[in-house]
């Protein structure tokens, strides 16, 4: 009897100890979440309806001021509308050119083309280098090296591609895609390798060629990643500054300004000049209102249209 009671007591103590351990370990993450996620986001909602007065205090004097300011700015200037178009263009190029190219390269390396091991390293390595470094190397390449080569080889005089109004957008969009191609390959290869070898062999024995294998076996296996990248990438349609802040700081030519760039500039200005903080909050709210439904719709659509595995 005595040992039974002792056993129950020990068990109770352990359970109690477990609970203390559990809540003790979670205390910090919970507090962190409540303050820096929940409070911050709720406050940003409140901030959107406020403005800052001369004494640097937030007031509800004209609750819709920030929203009206945004829509007025949007209507007054065609730069913002065009900027959204550029953001969509950037996303579209990524979707219809970038993604198929990444999948093609990944499939080739998964099928162990000659040199596939070296290619993996060489394609992945650039992704660990900062965008600022790449922007500097790329800027000097397109603004110095290419015009020099054009002159030397073809005798043609040309401006730097980043300084030329006609070419700068193309150059920026190209930079966005070309330098990020290698990054996704590892994920795709790892997923493709998850397809059981027997399934591949069985398909081959049935006379299937590489193309059929790709569309009927490989594509369904990587579809979850493609789908994940696509719907989680939706916010970037609006927020991506397309690297312009790194290329030009606050002086990007109007011909190339994306909406995301404009947003980035406003955020940096708000960091220096606190008066714009409520304005940034309002833009963020509009942004979330546009992006969230779009994300969920895209996710839903992708889950319906995805390729299905054979067999």
């Amino acid at each position: 009897m005595h040992s039974e009671t002792k056993k129950i007591m020990t068990l109770n103590q352990r359970t109690k100890g477990d609970r203390i351990f559990y809540w003790g370990c979670l205390a910090y993450p919970i507090i962190q979440f409540l303050i820096f996620y929940l409070y911050v986001n709720l406050d940003s909602f409140v901030l959107a309806f406020q403005s800052m007065d001369e004494n640097y205090t937030y007031q509800f004097t004209d609750p819709l001021y920030n929203f009206n300011r945004f829509f007025a700015q949007f209507q007054e200037s065609n730069i913002l509308g065009r900027g959204i178009l550029y953001n969509f263009l950037n996303y579209g190029i990524g979707l219809f050119i970038g993604t198929p190219l990444v999948i093609f390269m990944s499939f080739a390396m998964y099928k162990k083309i000659p040199g596939h091991k070296a290619f993996k390293i060489l394609l992945y390595a650039p992704t660990i280098i900062s965008t600022t470094v790449w922007v500097m190397v790329y800027s000097h390449t397109v603004d110095t090296l290419i015009p020099e080569l054009a002159m030397k080889i073809f005798g043609v005089e040309m401006d730097g591609l980043l300084s030329n109004n006609k070419t700068m957008l193309g150059v920026v969009l190209y930079f966005q895609r070309w330098f990020s191609l290698g990054g996704g390959t590892l994920l795709y290869i790892a997923t493709m390798e998850g397809v059981p070898e027997e399934q591949v062999e069985a398909m081959r024995m049935d006379g299937a060629n590489l193309l059929k294998e790709f569309f009927h076996l490989t594509m369904p296996s990587v579809w979850p990643i493609i789908s994940l990248f696509l719907w989680t990438g939706i916010p970037s349609i609006i927020t991506s500054d397309m690297g312009l802040y790194t290329f030009y700081s606050e002086k990007a030519p109007v011909e190339v300004r994306s909406f995301g760039y404009w947003l980035t500039v406003i955020k940096f200005r708000a960091a220096e000049n606190q008066k714009d903080i409520p304005y940034v909050a309002a833009i963020g709210m509009i942004q979330s209102a546009v992006v969230l439904p779009l994300m969920f719709i895209t996710k839903k659509v992708l889950s319906m249209v995805g390729p299905k595995t054979e067999g």
Binding site: Y22, C25, L26, P29, Q32, F33, I35, Y37, Y39, V40, N41, D43, S44, Y58, L101, M105, A108, K111, K112, I113, G115, F119, L122, Y124, A125, I128, I129, S130, T132, V133, M136, Y138, H140, T141, T144, L145, E148, K152, W178, L181, L187, A190, P220, S221, P235, T239, T246, K267, A270, A271, I277, P278, V280, A281, A282, I283, G284, M285, S288, V291
Partner: protein
């Protein structure tokens, strides 16, 4: 069997097409880098005369100018301060190191506790909240964060930034959580029977098993923070990190000798060098880790 192997071989056309395309991609990325490196060894005159070729009289002048003029002017505690490359490296080590370590610490503990006690009612709820928060982009956060950080003294404060980055709302939380599936339950029970305490089990038994994921987390977070300039520029303006300093240097008006392609490129390469060294040492492990943690089985 031989027939199947023959069948499994790629067609020559596919191999040629794929290799050509990938080689082209690699050349487009690497050739400008090689060209850039060569330019950094040219004198200003050599570069003006020939912007394409190899240096005729190699010199380290660009690197010398880089070390002398690569700085950021900041105001710290009301006083103007010049932060040079060494200072920026120190700031980056503190910022990236502290953020990676504390970030890992919080994510590990949260993932471990939620996994180990997943039979508690609150555990799946917390897990779901984290997953939703990771996937839900609430874009207005920057403004309110700026306001809050200023109010509580975290703005322009290194320790404040560490605390801000120490949260479990990160993709690696999910990777860490999943990695606990490989730790057999018997191991915990055996340790408990042997009298091991809860912290001992968490850090001495479970941690070594998920170490590859932890290592990958450290390395990728460290590199990401090393390269990150926008967060520091926005929230920590008087503690320029390497990425931040490079960004400022790119747009800084310097004497003509410094405001020059060879020096700007030397700065870019010097700032990338530590990351390249890390990749040379740990690249293989890192790539394996990315593959393992990222692969979604079909």
């Amino acid at each position: 069997m031989k027939k199947i192997k023959e069948k499994n071989k790629n067609s020559v056309f596919f191999n040629v097409l794929a290799v050509s395309f990938i080689v082209l991609q690699i050349l487009v990325v690497y050739l400008p880098c090689i060209w850039g490196v060569l330019q950094t060894f040219k004198s200003r005159t050599n570069w003006i005369l020939d912007k394409i070729g190899i240096p005729t009289d190699p010199t380290l002048n660009a690197y010398d100018l880089f070390f002398r003029y690569f700085y950021v002017n900041v105001v710290r505690n009301g006083k103007p301060v010049k932060v040079y490359f060494e200072g920026a490296v120190l700031n980056t080590l503190l910022y990236a190191g502290g953020s990676s370590f504390l970030g890992f610490f919080v994510q590990y503990i949260t993932a471990y506790v939620l996994f180990r006690f997943k039979h508690y009612k609150s555990s799946p709820i917390f897990y779901a909240i984290i997953v939703i928060a990771i996937n839900l982009p609430l874009a207005g956060g920057v403004a309110a964060s700026l306001k809050l950080y200023r109010a509580i003294g975290f703005y322009d404060n290194m320790i404040g930034m560490w605390i801000l980055n120490a949260h479990p709302l990160n993709f690696y939380f999910l990777v860490l959580y999943s990695s606990f599936y490989v730790v057999p339950n018997d191991l915990y029970e055996a340790a408990e029977v042997d009298g091991a305490g809860r912290f001992h089990i968490m850090f001495k038994i479970a941690l070594p098993i998920v170490m590859p994921v932890v290592f990958l987390y450290f390395l990728t977070t460290f590199i990401a923070e090393w390269n990150n300039y926008q967060t520091c520029l926005m929230f920590m303006p008087s503690y320029p990190t390497v990425g931040y300093a490079l960004y400022k240097f790119k747009f800084m008006s310097s004497p003509p000798d410094v405001n020059h392609t060879t020096v700007k490129l030397a700065a870019a390469y010097m700032c990338a060098l530590p990351v390249i060294i890390l990749f040379i040492i740990f690249g293989n492990k890192m790539m394996k880790g990315v593959s393992v943690s990222g692969g979604i089985k079909g």
